[in-house]
């Protein structure tokens, strides 16, 4: 087939099956595969929850309030993200960036609150292989940290992704400063001290992408980033009731 047949003749090809551009279909397919990853983790957690009558219930009032605020942060971040997508479609670059920055703020608040929750549980004696609330259900810590850790990793990647889309190369030094501050100002046994290395890995990957293929991200890119962000919010809508609300400790 000649180049003209391939590139030169509009209408030569039948329209996309899904009526949209390929980048969006690619992101949807990725999200579907990620759904199965989280689905497997959630089903594994639920399996353990159902098959163990002595499943620990460590989440008292303070933890539930904290997790509810985290949920509010993610839901609010989805609202600001969709407003950012609308602004991008209007061609309003200033408000696109502002709404995405609001989204990043809510996402960062979620990560910090979740890190504090982890810190509290670890201080109470919970590790991936044991917990102080039930001697017969040792897998509680492993399933909890795997499930919530996987989600927190996705939120962190989402914040970096949005930073790249909204600020491009200007985001790289900001990321480096945040990593340096957290790494050097937190105790070495802190959750944040260890977890902040995800930012360093994200910095390297973002730098490679931004320098090898610099581009001005358009409304389509913002919409695709939004799809990823809403998915992260969506997954939490199942983790929150399954992990926290089903393990509420009303007394004590």
């Amino acid at each position: 087939m000649s180049d003209m047949a391939v590139h030169g003749m509009a209408g030569e090809f039948e329209p996309s099956l899904f009526g949209t551009y390929s980048k969006k279909i690619g992101m949807w397919l990725f999200l579907l595969s990620d759904t199965l990853t989280f689905g497997a983790l959630l089903f594994a957690y639920s399996y353990g929850r159902i098959s163990n009558p002595d499943w620990p219930t460590p989440f008292h009032k303070e933890s539930i309030i904290n997790a509810t605020i985290m949920t509010g942060c993610l839901l609010s971040s989805s609202l600001t993200m969709v407003l950012g997508v609308l602004a991008a479609r209007r061609g309003d670059r200033s408000w696109t960036r502002n709404w995405i920055l609001f989204t990043m703020f809510f996402g960062s608040a979620f990560i910090v609150l979740h890190g504090m929750e982890w810190t509290k549980l670890i201080a109470e004696g919970m590790t991936s292989s044991r917990n102080p609330w039930s001697s017969t259900v040792q897998q509680f810590g492993g399933t909890f940290f795997t499930l919530t850790g996987m989600h927190m990793l996705h939120v962190t990647i989402g914040v970096i992704y949005l930073g790249v889309v909204s600020l491009r190369k200007a985001f790289l030094p900001i990321l480096l400063v945040i990593w340096g501050l957290v790494f050097f100002l937190t105790p070495t046994d802190s959750v944040f001290h260890v977890g902040v290395h995800v930012l360093l890995a994200g910095l390297v990957i973002a730098a490679v992408i931004l320098f090898l293929k610099p581009k001005d991200y358009d409304a389509h890119d913002v919409e695709i980033a939004g799809l990823y962000w809403h998915f992260v919010d969506l997954v939490w809508m199942f983790i929150f009731p399954l992990v926290y609300l089903m393990s509420t400790r009303v007394q004590g």
Binding site: L17, F18, G19, T20, Y21, K24, I25, W28, L32, T35, L36, G39, A40, F43, S46, Y47, G48, I50, S51, P53, K61, I64, T68, T71, G72, L75, S76, S78, L79, M81, V82, L83, L86, R89, H220, E223, G226, L227, H230, F231, D233, L234, M237, F238, F240, P241, L242, L245, M246, T248, V250
Partner: protein, 103 residues
Amino acid sequence: MHTAAAHHDEGKGQYFWVWGALLLLTAVEVALAYKQVFEPVRMLEALMILSVIKSALIIGYFMHLKYEIAAMKWVMMVAVCACLCLMCVFFADAARILQLGVR
């Protein structure tokens, strides 16, 4: 390129309504769990129904799937829902362990 999702009415109002509904449903979930309104299995069912409603709102409105063409909606949703439903097969074994113990 114009897409199916770009043609719909893009009023901001509906997104604030969806956001409000999501917050309200979250408050209902927290109230149900904290007041221990149902016994555990019934509670799990109630919370999952509310979570599915919340996820439908997020997918339909925030992710704009409501405004995509039918082929996109069906291919994307049917495949993933079928796979997730297949995972329910493990619950039979969880119930067996609960009632019979590990043999």
